[in-house]
Symmetry: C2
Subunit: 186 residues, 2 copies
Amino acid sequence: MAEQVKTKMVNGIDMDVLQSTVNAIQEEPELGKCMFRVSNKWLGANHNCTTVTSFYGAKQEIDHKQSFEIHADEPAILAGQDQGANPVEHLLNALAACVTTSMVAHAAVRRIHIEELESELEGDIDLQGFLGLAKDVPKGYTDIRVKFKVKADTDNIERLKDLAQYSPVFNTLINGVNVDIQIEPK
Amino acid sequence: MAEQVKTKMVNGIDMDVLQSTVNAIQEEPELGKCMFRVSNKWLGANHNCTTVTSFYGAKQEIDHKQSFEIHADEPAILAGQDQGANPVEHLLNALAACVTTSMVAHAAVRRIHIEELESELEGDIDLQGFLGLAKDVPKGYTDIRVKFKVKADTDNIERLKDLAQYSPVFNTLINGVNVDIQIEPK
């Protein structure tokens, strides 16, 4: 069957690169340990900017090809100037990006070809929690819904849903994570 | 004491706007219910783009002043083209932005003046989990560390640490959240 012939590129991903990373970590698990980092600077009011420059992985410091700057602000109704998506929208972006990437990469490894992939996400927050107006109202998201539309062999659609479960951001969100906050004078 | 005179702007935030939002939600809790949304489109390989346009809050649909586009990709070692921060870096951005904004806004309400605020975040992920190479290794972040440096009255630094706890993204991450994923053919 022609579609099962192994090609170098699947879903736009170079399978040689992906497979060599997988093989290397399988042989030497220490290579899989990563530390991702960002730095953030407050720019006044609700506006702040994150810079992403480098990370640790494969037992070495690795620079991105370029630094990335990501702005966050709040809309006028939340007393901001609307100079960027707000932090909880950025969280939905992280989830959308991660589930998409995870699905595409895991599909590629299984030779499932994806032609198009889009998603719509929405999440519920009651601001009474954040504002400290009601102690019994959670401060964070209570529910997030992700709806994908995919153009692919229909036989594979349920498999793709399973592959979404590999997403690191999805797993961080459903399981929770330890977050330690320290603050010191500048 | 001069510093306790109530001024309209604290930490760059218009206190009249912030206080009127707080008062309105306190009087009519339904106004606090928000639904934030993003849409995402896969652009091939590990590259995808999120668009943020509008949200629901204060019992109405509200458009941002402009749409925001946020790109995600992976570095070369993870088989990407490095055209944006990767999804787990975007998650750290969401956390950095949210704790910063929460701290600044809650400080403003308490008339705690902040002159400068910066943070460094790092998070640990072992790729063996994401790659499905070891079932006992978590797929998401296991630990995230946030280090703030703040220029403010030193008496207030411990209070600022407490105010960080109001952050919606922080609370979502430490408590976990329900995430429902649906997928349908396009």
